[in-house]
């Protein structure tokens, strides 16, 4: 049985009201003891966490592992390596794979593959509709029974409102979260960035913010109608945030996530980076007013979780004309750094809020026991180094793909260690695979 002593860190678990400096002893997969000056048992590995923050493990509920079928972009090993390098103990993987995860055997396959090759926990999300075609419901109950933690057609919206309504009614009986990529495709058309001043000046076709907002409003109204739990993925616009706030006030069971790129960048990045396709994602980064609204939504609890929408793509799919490039950027290895640098350091949110946004609430949304710093709890732990200033480097990334607009950025605050089920999987941003 492996033994790990995390010594001298600030133990911070806001959901339990824990905030003290101390030691944390992990035996096997569980936290055995929390105390002061705990002696290191024979053979224990000691992690010196002096000056660091020891938090319940971070969870990313929006990750494209690209398995099965697109292993040239990412695979189970590299995707979960990127996760633990970024400080995550678990990820929810999106079902827009080849084939689509729309049946129980595929969910089982992913869980099996993760248990053999994964470095962190993997919770598959199943599709809402067969083949993501937006027509017939997928085997939602079978997938739930096999371990699917949510349903989504992510990558594309459910176009027809009636299909979405039926999916919500059906998912509710399993208390499954319905996650939606909100986009009215008749409005977004062939756009490749946010429609606005910058798209006009760069001569690129835009996607209006209303393309997202129309579906956010629709989903909230359907959530009120059906009583289902609906989750707005990667919220990108000011009015979307306002709609979610309105929906919550009305009593809709609606939640929302924001990505680090949406709380960090605006459409100006496309101009500043001279058409770099690392700025191309869907929904696109929008204007400063939108970014500010997302910051407010994170601060006031309208936005429930931070998720990355980690979307690895091969260089061949990105090193082309901007409109031809694939949508999406990687995010697992920069999320914690950006959240600490852009949210916590300037005081937009507190460190306690960050832990709720990245650990406790994500687990609650997918009906999993939230990671906790408590004796007897599963040892899923993220250690943060708030003082470390580091530069994002492509060659250090564990992901198979390097399509990040943050390469070259210098950030203050980084994940320091990741412990998954009692195993040290990352230390000082180096992945430990054995």
């Amino acid at each position: 049985m492996s033994v790990l002593l995390i010594r001298g860190g600030r133990l911070l678990d806001p959901a339990r009201g824990l905030d003290r400096v101390g030691d944390l002893l992990v035996e096997g997969s569980r936290i055995r003891a929390i105390g002061t000056d705990l002696p290191a048992p024979d053979g224990a590995r000691v992690v010196d966490a002096t000056g660091k923050v020891v938090a319940p493990g971070f969870i990313d509920i929006h990750v494209h592992l690209r398995v099965p079928g697109q292993e040239y972009k990412e695979d189970m090993r590299t995707g979960t390596a990127a996760a633990v390098r970024g400080g995550f103990v678990g990820v929810v993987c999106m079902p827009n794979t080849r084939p689509v995860v729309d049946s129980a055997p595929l969910v089982s396959h992913l869980l099996d593959l993760a248990s053999r090759e994964g470095l962190c926990r993997v919770w598959p999300a199943g599709a809402i509709t067969k083949g993501l075609r937006g027509e017939e419901l997928a085997e939602i109950g079978e997938m739930w029974a096999a371990g699917a933690c949510a349903i989504t057609d992510d990558g594309r919206p459910v176009d027809r409102a009636e299909t979405m309504r039926q999916a919500m009614i059906y998912a509710r009986q399993f208390d499954l979260l319905v996650m939606d990529h909100c986009e009215d495709r008749s409005l977004s058309g062939s756009g490749c960035m946010h429609e606005g001043r910058v798209s006009s000046q760069l001569g690129l076709k835009g996607m209006v913010a209303a393309a997202e907002e129309v579906h956010v409003a629709r989903d909230i109204l359907l959530a009120l109608e059906t009583g289902a739990r609906v989750h707005v993925q990667h919220v990108s616009s000011r009015r979307s945030v306002e709609l979610v706030r309105w929906g919550k006030a009305l009593g809709a069971r609606v939640t929302a996530e924001a990505t680090p790129h949406h709380f960090t960048l605006t459409d100006q990045a496309v101009a500043d980076m001279d058409y770099s396709t690392s700025t191309k994602m869907n929904p696109p980064v929008r204007e400063e007013a939108d970014r500010q609204a997302i910051l407010e939504g994170l601060a006031d609890g309208t936005i429930d979780v931070i998720a990355t929408d980690h979307a690895p793509h091969h260089v061949d799919e990105k090193d082309v004309e901007y409109p031809l490039a694939a949508f999406g950027i990687t995010g697992l290895e920069t999320a914690v750094g950006l959240a600490l640098d852009r949210l916590v350091r300037p005081g937009v949110i507190s460190l306690e809020q960050l832990i709720l946004l990245m650990s406790t609430r994500p687990a609650q949304l997918i009906n999993r026991t939230p990671p906790a710093l408590a004796e007897g709890a599963e040892a899923d732990i993220t250690v943060l180094d708030l003082g470390r200033t580091w530069t994002v480097r492509a060659e250090e990334m564990a992901s198979k793909s390097k399509n990040s607009p943050f390469i070259g950025w210098t950030l203050t605050g980084a994940p320091y260690a990741t412990i998954v089920g009692g195993r040290l999987r990352m230390l000082e941003m180096k992945v430990i695979a054995e």
Binding site: R197, S200, L202, G203, D274, Y275, D319, E321, Y322
Partner: protein, 310 residues
């Protein structure tokens, strides 16, 4: 006067007034070459230029070709229809292969904004943007500016009305970026579905009433109406377009008597421009074409000849 210290011509937005002055002065000096009995000079002898066109074009491609030939360069034309593009080759690979054959400059036209920027980053050869999607058409912008400068002596304080589908117009954007650097007052007029937005920081004013833009104008630049836009529901009929936004002789009387009437071609007579206007005394449309060759000669000379203003 300093030389042109850049490898590529991607757009007028990032150019300085000094650079544009240099290009226009050089074009002015080279312009007479095209009207000489013997046109060819050996300035760019031994240089190889490719015009790589992913969109159909007659005027721009031939204008570049003649400009290159008048200066003694070798020029080949590659169009998407006959290239490896149909075999699935990427833009970068196509251009790298041309560079590997020793090309000194790539003149590229592409249906997508930013495509020349992608090329410029990956090639050592000079890249000249001959129109990228709805982004920029810098050589058209420069030839428009040369034409205006010849007739008006400068740009400051001129009211320039750009009429038509500015939303989809790279000509409009290059005109905006170039002219506003010199203090011209640029107006965009057209149907609300086809008006470019987002140029307030350049001082550009927009109106759906063409009369408001034409009132007291020194220059009227009429944009080509791309008739396929009608199928996409951006305007209902050609007749309705002409009724509200067509530049007619009657409307042109709102402009100053010595107004310059410009059009980047090819024209839809009777749609965005009335024939009486296109062929009228204020029209400088054919002079634009002549100036186009001069501007392109100037750019090739400045980029490949490495010289000061002639």
């Amino acid at each position: 006067m300093p030389g042109l210290k850049r490898k590529d011509i991607l757009g007028l937005r990032e150019m300085t007034v000094e650079e544009i002055d240099l290009i226009l002065n050089t074009a002015e000096a080279l312009k007479d070459l095209a009207t000489r009995p013997v046109k060819k000079v050996p300035t760019l002898r031994g240089k190889a230029i490719v015009t790589l066109f992913y969109e159909n074009s007659t005027r721009t491609a031939k204008s570049f070709e003649l400009a290159a030939k008048y200066l003694g360069a070798d020029v080949i034309h590659v169009s998407a229809a006959t290239s490896s593009v149909q075999k699935g080759e990427t833009l970068k690979d196509t251009a790298r292969n041309l560079e590997a054959m020793g090309v000194d400059a790539v003149v590229v036209r592409h249906s997508m904004g930013g495509a020349p920027h992608l090329l410029a980053r990956s090639l050592r050869a000079s890249v000249i943007n001959a129109g990228d999607g709805i982004h920029e058409h810098p050589t058209q912008g420069l030839l428009d500016m040369l034409t205006i400068r010849q007739k008006k002596g400068g740009f400051k304080g001129l009211k320039v009305a750009i009429v038509g589908d500015s939303y989809h117009s790279r000509v409009a954007r290059s005109n905006i970026y170039g002219l506003t650097k010199y203090g011209a007052e640029v107006w965009l007029a057209g149907p609300s579905t086809l008006l470019a937005q987002g140029f307030e920081e350049y001082g550009v004013r927009t109106t759906t009433r063409v009369e408001e833009a034409l009132e007291g104008a020194d220059v009227v630049n009429v944009l080509r109406l791309q008739l396929e836009r009608q199928e996409k529901g951006l305007f209902p009929t050609v007749a309705e377009y002409h009724r509200f936004w067509g530049v007619t002789a009657e409307r042109l009387r709102l402009a100053k008597p010595d107004v310059l009437l410009m059009h980047p071609g090819p024209m839809n007579r009777g749609v965005e421009i009335a024939t009486a206007v296109a062929d009228g005394p204020q029209s400088v449309i054919t002079e634009q074409v002549t100036n186009g060759v001069a501007v392109r000669m100037a750019l090739l000379y400045l980029l490949l000849g490495g010289g000061e203003a002639a």
